[in-house]
């Protein structure tokens, strides 16, 4: 009987004891194969598939390296990546975003690749932007895999039926057209307003368009005189117009719309306009509710200045500081950042490419992409500018600004107070 007692109690205890014994096992198998762990952040099923194909190509080229792709649900991905990097184990290659790089860098979680990439032959093929964004301060924490930028998706059929000669070119046009196309009773709306997660991004876009003449292109949240863009009188007009756009031209439920709701609102045919990144091109193409000839893409909206500020968003592949397989990880980053793999990745995910060769690629000058070509050809009108997304307080800013913007559109705060609050926030943060 005593034996039985020992057996049962041991059941629980043994499991615990087993833990202490099994720490520290090397993941690199004895046969000389190195396993790289790679984590993505902006996960979606199609993208994961593309990445897996690319990684299979890499493994074929490097039979001694195996890559395990980790694809956490995107909602909690960055938090998970933080945990992984902090623990210093189980991750080699990581998807770093401009908005996370500030904190990853500050904590010394990422490896500075500058030295390893000094003689890399891939530099010559990268666009100027790609080279520029590969330097974060004096370090190279990641190589961009593509760029995001705003453009206006619109319904060609509805715009035409409403008697307009073309898509809106300015925010004022957008207000006018949205107001006309907005028919709440028929479940048809004008503009797919962003009121939910990351609502600040489009609000900042309109403020920047209204202050475009004075914006500091190296820090698009500041004016050339060093004050914040939120302090400019034009910002007040911008926010008032923006609120008007919500009230008169957008679905009431869009107070809570984040990225997925906006895109769905457009792709299921309920809204006529959507201001978004190129990556949604692929999603809308898959839509069964609207057909290929019912929509197109126009350049970003300009302000009364006649200009717009194009905020450049990016993300890329970097290496964990604690990785024990850095040479192999570098190989992988290089592999993904040049030639065929880089092109495939940007095309399949419809991102603005990082390679110069894409300029000659018909893929990027036709259909929805024509708007991007147009914007590229007119750098004086569509001014490319750097937003301070790499600061370590960026997540704090998003949380603050999203909450306050929702307060404004639900009538709990005035646009004046909002701008004062944002001005104060950035003035204090910039002063250190």
């Amino acid at each position: 009987m005593k034996k039985k007692l020992t057996a049962i109690t041991a059941l629980g205890v043994a499991a615990v004891l087993a833990l202490s014994g099994c720490g520290g096992g090397s993941k690199d198998a004895a046969d000389g194969k190195v396993t790289l762990k790679m984590v993505e952040s902006l996960t979606n099923p199609t993208r994961t598939e593309t990445l897996k194909t690319l990684l299979a190509g890499f493994e074929k080229e490097n039979p001694n390296i195996k890559v395990d792709l980790i694809s956490p649900p995107t909602d909690s991905a960055d938090q998970k990546i933080q945990q992984m990097l902090q623990s210093g184990k189980g991750v080699d290659v990581v998807e770093a975003r401009d908005i996370t790089i500030g904190s990853f860098g500050a904590n010394n979680w990422l490896y500075d690749m500058s030295a390893d990439l000094k003689d890399w032959n891939g530099w010559a093929d990268l666009t100027d932007n790609a080279v520029k964004y590969s330097k974060q301060g004096d370090k190279t924490y990641f190589i961009p895999y593509g760029f995001y930028g705003l453009s206006l998706f619109y319904r060609t059929d509805l715009v035409k039926d409403a008697g307009f000669s073309g898509p809106p070119a300015s925010w004022t046009d957008l207000l006018e057209q949205s107001e006309k196309l907005n028919q709440p009773d028929a479940n048809k709306f004008g503009y797919a307003f962003r009121g939910g997660t990351n609502a600040n991004s489009n609000a900042v876009a309109i403020i920047e368009a209204y202050t475009a003449d004075q914006v500091d292109v190296e820090n698009a949240f500041l004016l050339k005189d060093g004050k914040t863009i939120f302090s400019a009188p034009e910002a007040q007009t911008a926010m008032d117009d923006y609120l008007e756009l919500f009230k008169k031209g957008s679905p009431p439920s869009s107070v809570a719309w984040g990225y997925p709701e906006m895109v769905q609102g457009f792709s299921n045919g309920s809204t006529s306009f959507l201001l978004q990144d190129p990556e949604v091109i692929a999603t809308i193409k898959e839509s069964t509710s609207i057909k290929e000839d019912q929509w197109s893409v126009a350049p970003l909206l300009v302000g009364p200045t006649g200009k717009a500020i194009q905020p450049v968003g990016t993300a890329g592949w970097g290496i964990a500081q604690a990785s024990t397989a850095k040479p192999e990880a570098i190989k992988l980053v290089k592999y993904l950042s040049q030639g065929e793999p880089a092109t495939t990745f940007t095309k399949e995910n419809s991102l603005v490419p990082i390679l110069k060769s894409a300029a000659k690629d018909p893929f990027y000058s036709e259909g929805p992409w024509a708007a991007y070509v147009k914007m590229n050809e007119q750098p004086e009108t569509y001014i490319s500018a750097v937003q301070p997304r790499t600061v370590s307080w960026w997540t704090e800013w998003i949380a603050k600004s999203d909450g306050e913007l929702q307060r404004v559109i639900t009538g709990k705060m005035t646009t004046k107070d909002l701008l004062a609050s944002w001005d104060k926030f950035w003035t204090e943060k910039m002063a250190g």
């Binding site: 109690t9 904590n107 107070v255 370590s392 909450g403 929702q406």
Partner: protein, 321 residues
């Protein structure tokens, strides 16, 4: 002190109706062999809970007193009560506390009332009672996240079934932006939580009801007591201890249950549907684990205090019997 009181009521489950038949035999042969057996029996539970719950919790609590921000861990110095102060000074804090109370009370009361009614009706056998129970109990088996997503889809303003049905019946004439207007959003999340929680009460109360003996009802019938009097003088007192404990556990769980809200509204619009625990998730997403831990400690202490008062308040009723 609080814990002793809790223990009283937990034990009270067995002592409410009949005299506690076990306690007087409990103090018996307490030799070293028995002690060893006891220790061996307790060890696995203690080891598991100690390692995987208490160690991380205590280790995590210290972050509450430090400047622990994942966005920049270069300075994690001790800040005393600084994180708590920041929380209390936050103008949103009042709203969040108010929301938490609305969320707990608004979910709990209908859960108890509907659950109770359901249990009363299910007490007597009827055809297909087994099948009926299986269906009526199923919400309890669905995860909070899934319930949140499911109701988010049903409450969708443009393509949601709730608006469609309400419009068909003629209660509303144009779609309601449920999750976009603070008042409606709060209503929607509470409805989802009621849907989820009624079952739990129904099961617990039904179990308690079935243990009330028929003799007691027969005695009441002989006394000529009507249905309502029987309910208040027999049924309710007989199950009051189970009910009391169930409600307490439920309050603790609802308080600590961010899943539905997080999936449905994420605390929006304009932070108007945040309860303390969803707000904690929001803070961790900003990276400020120091503040999040401080908030977590506030939750633990609030619940402990509440449990103590609650148990002191329910205890006399038990003694009256």
């Amino acid at each position: 002190m609080a814990l002793n009181a809790e223990q009283e009521v937990v034990r009270g489950r067995s002592s409410a109706g009949a005299p506690p038949q076990t306690s007087y035999t409990r103090k018996k042969r307490f030799n070293s062999k028995t002690a060893l057996t006891m220790l061996a029996f307790m060890a696995p539970a203690a080891i598991f809970v100690g390692i995987f719950t208490y160690y991380p919790m205590i280790s995590g609590s210290q972050m509450a007193f430090r400047n622990w921000n994942l966005n920049d861990l270069s300075d994690t110095s001790w800040v005393g009560w600084g994180n708590f102060r920041t929380l209390f000074e936050n103008p949103e804090f009042g709203t969040i506390v108010r929301n938490t109370i609305v969320w707990v009370v608004g979910s709990l009361v209908p859960q108890v009332v509907i659950g109770f009614a359901l249990a009363l009706f299910l007490k007597r056998k009827f055809k297909f009672r087994g099948a009926y129970q299986a269906f009526i109990f199923f919400p309890w088996a669905v995860s909070g996240f899934l319930i949140g997503m499911l109701f988010r889809w049903m409450f969708n303003a443009e393509f949601g079934v709730v608006n469609d049905l309400l419009m068909k019946v003629g209660i509303i004439h144009s779609p309601v932006p449920w999750l976009a207007e603070p008042g409606f959003a709060m209503t929607a999340i509470i409805i989802a939580n009621i849907w989820y929680g009624v079952t739990f009460f129904a099961i617990m109360i039904l179990a308690a009801l079935q243990s009330v003996s028929d003799e007691m009802y027969e005695a009441a019938a002989i006394d000529g007591a009507g249905k309502i009097r029987t309910f208040f003088s027999i049924t309710l007192p007989a199950i009051s201890v189970t009910l009391g404990l169930t409600i307490l556990l439920r309050i603790i769980w609802i308080f600590n249950f961010p899943d539905i809200i997080w999936a449905m509204t994420g605390g929006g619009p304009a932070d108007q549907t945040h309860i303390i625990t969803t707000y904690m998730i929001k803070i961790t997403q900003k990276g400020d684990y120091g503040q999040a831990s401080a908030l977590g400690l506030i939750v633990v202490f609030t619940l402990m205090l509440f449990a103590a008062f609650y148990l002191m308040a329910v205890r006399p009723r038990k003694e009256n019997r």
